[in-house]
Structure formats: C-alpha cells, structure tokens
Symmetry: C2
Subunit: 526 residues, 2 copies
C-alpha cells in the first residue's frame, strides 16, 4: 500500500502546514536531496499537538489493556502493509541495505506485538492489595490498593541509526502507548520520508481502533527548536531519546530546568568494552578476531552497542590477536554512513583518537566523504586510564585495542571506565577463576554483561536491559528495550478505602482481569 | 542502654573530629540550647565517609538477602534497646510528646523489619529469565537473565518532622540498606542527639553483623554545606530527601548539574486537598468537621500529608461545615513547633495567605513565638484557580477552605492543582455519581487517593504510595514509604549467555533461593 508523502507534520489526524523551516531527506550514497520537501512544525503546531495529547490523556488512561493491545497490533499490521514502502525508503534515506530494512521492520512489528501481549495480559501494572484490618491496635489498618497508571504525554525522539526500530514506531513509542500515554514523536531529520510513512501507519491504526485524536502526533524539525520546545512544554510528562551523549544531556538539562521537572529517558553513548581472556585467546584467537571484527563493522559501526574498546592481554597471544584484527580491518571496504555529518564526525573522532599520547595507529586509513573506512588503534591500559578522552565514543567502525597485563589491570580499567550499555567477556572454562570476578565487577558499570558473544544485537525480551550508568543512559534504573521499558512511562497510584465499584478493574476484589497481584504479601492470580 | 553522646559525626565505625562548625540542639519549648555541642563534618570527613561507602559497595552488593535482613533486624533491636533514650531525647529536641516518640520508634522498627522480610524473601529483585533458542531463525536467541542490583552509595537527608521514622534510621535508610546500598546520612540539625543515638544503634548493628565499615556513616551539618558536598560527590549514586519543596529542588538542581547526574528522590510539599461531597456533608457534617479539624491539627500540622485545602460545597450545608470548622479552630490551643524557624515560617505563611485577594480570614490568631495557633481561611474556587500563590504549602496547623459550586468546578480545581501526595474524597453512597469521576481525576494529580478518611497517617505497606507528581515529589514514579521504596535504589542488570556457575543465585537455573521469577513469560517460583 504505497501512499503519497506530503512533507508535513501529523497533528493527530490532521496535517500540519508548510510554515516552518524547510529541509530535505538526503541520499547518503549520492548526496542528492530527496523529495518531498519537509517542513518543520511551527510553534502553533507544537501547541496543537501538545493540547491534543493532553486532552487525550484521561481517555487513554481509562482504556483497557485489551484496547491498547489492539492498537499496538493494528500499528504492526499497518506497518507490515507498508513493507514495500519501507524497503524502498529506508535504503534511500539511510544507505542501509534493503535486507536490514526488512529485518528491522520485522523487529519493529515483533516489538509492538510483544508490548501488545504484555498489556493484554495486564499483570505489568503490578497491582498490590493490602486488606484492611479494622481491629488492629493501636490504629485500624486501612484498605490499600495500588497499580501503575500512565504518566501522560510522552515526547519520543527518533534515532538516526535505527530508522524503524528506534524511531517513529520504535520501542519508545510502543512502550509509551502500551503504558497508556499519548505520544508526540519528533522525527529524526535524516529519514523524514521513512518517518512520515511510519507516522501514517500509526495514525491509520489510531483511527481504525477508535482511539482519541491526540494519541499520536509526528512533528518534523529541521534543527533542534521543535524538540526543545516539546521538552519544555508544560503538558509533556516524559521524554525518550536515543542518540549521542551531547544530545541526550542537552535534553536532560532542559527537562531538569523546567518549573516542573520531568524525566528524560536517554539512551546515549557507550564504548562497550570487550575483555578477551588468556585461555580463550590461546584456544581460539583467530575465531575471536573474526567475531570482533564483524561486530565492530556491523551496520558500518552505527550501533549503540558497537565494541569501541577491546581489552587484549599483553604478550604474544595478544600480539597475534592484534595483528589478526589489524589485517582484517585493513582489508575491509568502506561503508556509506547514515549521513554526511555522521561520516565527518567519525573521521574526526578516529583522527583525534590516533593523535592522543601513547596511541598507536594500527589501521588509520583516509576517510572518504560520506563513508567510513574501518580504523583500529592500540594503547596500553595505564595510558588508557590516564587519558579520559580515550573513552569518547567514536560512532562508526573504529575500535581501540587496550593491552592489559593481568587481572589487577582489568580491575583498574573497570574502576576507571564510565557507565556502559554493555560489557563483554570472552572466556573459556580455563579462564573461570578470572572470569567470575570480572563479570561481577562489570555488572557494577554496565547494563548488560555478556559472555562469549558480541554486544551488537539487542534482543527484545523481558529480561533485556538496554541502558546503564551515565553516560550510557540518563537513568540507569530503566531500559529502553524489552518489556521493562514500559515501566518508564507509568507511576504507581494508591487507592485507600475506595469502594470496589470505584476501583479500576485491576484492583477490584474479584480480580476480573485475572492478573498476577501481590495480595497481603502473597503473589497470586486467583 | 543509655550511651554518652559525643557530638561528632560517625565515619563508619570511627568518630569524626571537632573541626567543623559548632551548633546545638535546641529545646523548642524553652528555646534553651542542649548539650552536647555538635560539630559539622569537615571536607576531609566527607571524603572519608564517601571513600568508605564506595569501598564497601562491592561487598554489600554480594551480600545475600538473608544477611541484609539480619542487619535490618539488628538495627531494629539496637533501636529498641535505646527506647528510653529516644523517649527522652525526641521530646526534648522536638517538643513532640513522649507517646509520639514511642509510637514513631515502633513505626521505625516495624519498617526495618518489613524491609528485612522483603529482602529475606528476595523476590523483590524481579528476576527474569528468557532461555536461549539456538535454533531460532534468522538469528539464534541468547540466554538472557536480569535482576535488580544496588545502585551504590546513597545519601539520606533526615527530615525535621519525623525524627525517627523519616530520619537517620527511617524509611530511606531502611530501603537503601535493604537494596544493598551503603548509606551516608546527613543529620537534620533540629534533632542532633536523636540522630546521634540512632546512628550509634545502626553502627552497632553493622559491627555486630560483620558488615563492612562503610555500610553506614552519619554526618552532622550546621547549615547546608555538608549536604551539598555529599550530593555533588562523585562516589554518591543517589539521594533521598524529605522536606520542603525549596530544599528538595535545590538538591535536584545540584544533582542534575553534576558531570554524572544522579537521581534525587525528594518527598516535598503538598497541600493534600480534601473534597467534601454534598450527601456526606448533609448526612454527617458535624462528624466531618471533627475529623478534618483533628487531621489538620495532628502533630501541630507538621505532617507532609496535612490537609491544607478543604474543598467545601457552596450553600447552606457548606456554610455550616465552615462555621463548625471555624469554631473548632478558634477553640484550639497553640502547639509548640519543631523549631523556632518552622514556627516563624508558619506565622508568615498564614499571614501571607490571609493577605491574598479574595481570601477571608475565618480564624487568624496572633502567632506566639515558637508556637503555632491553628488558623483557617476561606476563598472561592474561581479565586483559588486565579491565584497560584494559594497553592503554597503553609507547614503547620493552617488550612484554606475553598468553596466550589458543582462538579465542573471540582474538575476545574483539579486541572489547576499542582501534584499532590494525597487527595481525599469525603462521600456517601448518594454521592457515588460524582465521586467516581472525582476519584478518577484525582489519580491524575496525586500519589494516593483516599475516601472517607484523612490523609495524615501513612501506612507502611506493599501497596502504599507516598509520592506524587512534582512538586509533591521529585520523581512521581517512586514512593518513599512502603516496600516499593526499595526500587529507588536498584537498577536492572542483564546477564547474557553467562554460565550458571557465574550467575548470582537469584538467576541460577535451579532457583536455589526459591524466588518468584518471570521465566519465559511465566510467573513461577519452582
């Protein structure tokens, strides 16, 4: 179902105008501007979208889990119906291959359906009931019941690097809608057509399911003004963002300075250290080199979880791994990056890394315009610890080998490392004595600790954590991927001595929704 | 077991020196300075306490739920052993009656034991397991397991108005220790001896249970410098605070401006509106007057949940309730407040309230030094909505009657009200048609909605929410009372493909701790 794209914002079911600053999508492979022309939302349109979202909030809070599930499934269907559009638009706007576009669409619809299942079940509201005890001394005990309810309007910033799964209809939107929040998406300017197409799919689903007009809006923004205005808007209750540390921190600062501060859930930068242990290295160094090389280069290194630091033992086996990696990096082809700006920043970041004291350039090729040529550097652990600049994320297929002598030096590195989305340990059975303490220490700095895998690839599951201590994320207590992501957009409300008839069904005595609940301290669903 | 108080900070198991600014506790009834002299922590002592807490964190994270439960129970025992001390010190330093001191101590030890039970059970870590599926297409599914682990060192600010239950050994400390975090308490200067005595009880329990030295420290502070330095300290991972909106916001701003921002869980101001509905008013106006008067005056109005706004119907029944309240307020005795400064601010706040346009002074007595004489004002709903200053909390036994004509005016009030800790509906069966929408709307602005009770009195229970949208709290997604308070101090960590032997027991396949876990989407404990 191909639809004509108009280049204007979606204000609920209405279209915005062409009054705001104009911009174009760009084909990163050719540098050519793409049709149609896009128009930033105006101040009036921002007000309209916010007012619609606020007006829809009471209705959305009342909707049952079954209704919210139906909306999420309808969005998945509408997106699926646009598969041909996405397989054309995503490669055009992002230079990502068509197979990636298709796979990412499947990930996106799977994610929507996972949240649909979650809210259809309904137990995520964590209903708790403590029955009254009028006879208790010295004071009677009241009847207390609580559950999670939606925060209210959420602003979602689309990410550049996952034009579907972390963008307009991505995990932030899915989890906020699942929680019962209205969503206003600020489209990423690097893929406006993909954004508009996804926004139309959501708007169609909203209309089809009879949800209120303000359930969803999509605002375009040539720069940062629309996004900033949304974060400052009095009716907005939370913000979700995936992108750079600088971008996320700017939103955190805006939100913290509001008269009424609101939470910003920003998933930001990470260098995702990988620790290669001696026995694994000795047993399968060549395979490790192949695996790490592939992970660094995946998607032209444009993953939040791309391994930017490879901690490799000092000594001959480590030298061999370094040389094998260097050989692979040197033989790799350049890749077109998402935007010319991202390619410039990669080239600059790689050059700056190579210029730091004590850093050896193993593979430091020229960087063609718009592209990234994989680059590899090396430094010893002591110097890495001495120079915090070496922890700056270089977004793209560039990595830094850090040579460490022993377990004490690993622990010193961990004590020095900033917060991370992931940390990986490559270890064999003979490494167990060292792997245990390493895993334990890494849980102190990372949201996810892996063994014998690569951090790229973030499973959408109940147990997933895609987050971590700052600067990996703005709030280490949350995740932006997996079902626990819904908890970001809800707050607990307690009802005290409220009669059954006035309680939401999730808290009524008969448990009509058959939820798992915590009743007088016991977990039960009867 | 009476012990001699020294007037110095507790830096782990060691005592601080007398190098910092000196101050005294004060008997609010007489204004007399109390012995001993107290000494603010010095910059060096702050560093020592933070370094000890950071050094203890890895050990604390490894401790089992059973060990943490034993510590919490030992603290409760040590506090109980000091009951005679608290029944002497609390009234002396705060002018609260001895029965309140005893009751609050019991609340404090009950709270500690509730968190002990919670962590002994262990299911609060919300362990989740998604098993691997190596055969999945297009990519194998990894084994993912996640649970909550402690954030790291937490700074707790003692509150003035609950010298035991929201102070050194109060809910914030109990929930942070339960989560496995080291705690540094900044003592409230209004009850230093009570704080020192409670701190000694905790320190004794820490030593008795073999917990590391940095598990707990207690720092004194004549002003705000020690607290500010702690919030800024690089090793601190979270802050808990109960107090004024201005105080809480200052900490939020400090924490947000850090190089690495940290969460501040501040429970702040609230005016706790009470809506009296017509049928209930007609049926039992006199009883409602008695109930509300008692709630406003409880503890000299020094409760976060004291009802500062009473929404009363226009018309004759409402006039009668107003008059009955006014008679009761006018006949009430003054009460000594916690500090001379709090009494001054109460007098000033009541005077400013009475000076606002459209506000009638029903009972506006002179305010004697150090005391609060209950005061009552009246305004109509339209004027309340027009003047945001009328939403300023007046901490003490002062309340504002707001006269509202109908349900539309209630909804207009709710749309205008800031975030609240509580909102109360007084309604009979004949009010049901109006009570339903009112309760639903109030859940949008309050953490706890009550019917036919008074908001003062906050039950410590699994279902409790003591929090609410800003400015009631800094983070509406959390509570500072009840077992869910522990979630503030933990973050989820995911283990991917980590062998069973290297997993924490909560995530091991055999479920050795017999926790309730979410396994492949099913809630189970086998």
């Amino acid at each position: 179902m191909t639809v004509e794209l108009q280049g204007t914002s979606l204000i609920g079911s209405a279209r915005g105008g062409r009054g705001g600053a104009a911009f174009h999508g760009v084909d990163p492979a050719s540098g050519a501007a793409l049709a149609p022309t896009y128009h930033s939302a105006t101040a009036d349109e921002i007000e309209q979208a916010a007012a619609l979202a606020a007006a829809a909030s009471a209705d959305l809070a009342r909707r049952s889990g079954a209704e919210r599930a139906a909306l999420l499934r309808a969005i998945a269907e509408e997106l699926e119906a646009a598969r041909a559009d996405f397989e054309r638009l995503v490669p055009l706007e992002t230079a990502l291959p068509v197979a990636r576009a298709g796979g990412e669409l499947t990930r996106t619809t799977t994610q929507l359906r996972l949240f649909a299942d979650l809210v259809a079940d309904g137990s995520w509201v964590d209903a708790r009931i403590d029955h009254a005890d009028p006879a208790r001394q010295p004071l009677p005990k009241p009847d207390l019941r609580s559950l999670r309810r939606p925060l209210g309007p959420v602003v979602v910033f689309g990410a550049s690097n996952f034009p579907l799964a972390f963008s307009v209809a991505g995990g932030d939107t899915a989890s906020a809608l699942a929680a019962g929040c209205a969503v206003i998406v600020k489209a990423h300017p690097a893929h406006p057509a993909t954004s508009e197409r996804a926004g139309l799919a959501i708007a169609a689903a909203v209309a089809r399911c009879g949800f209120p007009d303000g359930t969803f809006s999509l605002l375009f923004d040539a720069g940062h003004e629309v996004g900033a205005a949304l974060v400052r808007h009095r009716d907005v209750r939370a913000v979700a963002f995936t992108g750079s540390t600088a971008g996320g921190r700017a939103l955190m600062d805006l939100a913290a300075a509001r008269a009424q501060p609101i939470p910003v859930f920003a998933e930001m930068g990470s260098i995702n250290p990988v620790f290669v242990l001696p026995a694994a290295l000795a047993a399968r160094g060549a395979a490790v080199a192949e695996q790490l090389h592939a992970s660094v280069l995946q998607g032209v290194g444009q993953f939040c979880t791309s391994p930017g630091v490879l901690v490799v033992p000092a000594g001959a086996d480590g030298d061999a791994l370094r040389d094998a990696l260097a050989t692979r990096f040197a033989a790799s082809a350049p890749g077109v990056m998402l935007t010319a700006g991202i390619a410039r920043r990669h080239a600059q970041g790689a050059a700056e890394l190579g210029a730091r004291t004590g850093v050896a350039a193993l593979v430091a090729p020229a960087q063609p315009d718009g592209c990234a040529q994989p680059a590899l550097y090396e430094v010893d652990a002591a110097q890495f610890i001495a120079d915090a600049a070496l922890q700056e994320e270089v977004f793209g297929p560039t990595s830094l080998i850090v040579r460490a002598r022993d377990a004490a030096e690993w622990q010193a590195l961990i004590a020095h490392l900033h917060g991370q989305l992931t940390a990986t340990v490559i270890a064999d059975a003979d490494d167990a004595a060292e792997a245990g303490p390493l895993v334990e220490s890494l849980t102190g700095i990372a949201g996810r600790v892996l063994m014998n895998g690569v951090p790229t690839g973030v499973e959408v599951a109940a147990a997933m954590v895609h987050g971590g201590p700052y600067p990996a994320s703005s709030d280490s207590r949350t995740t932006s991927v997996g079902t626990a992501a819904i908890e970001r957009f809800a707050r607990r409300v307690c009802y005290q001595n409220v009669p059954d008839a006035l309680l939401p069904p999730a808290l009524q005595e008969a448990n009509p929704l058959q939820l798992w609940r915590l009743v007088d301290g016991q977990r039960r669903r009867d």
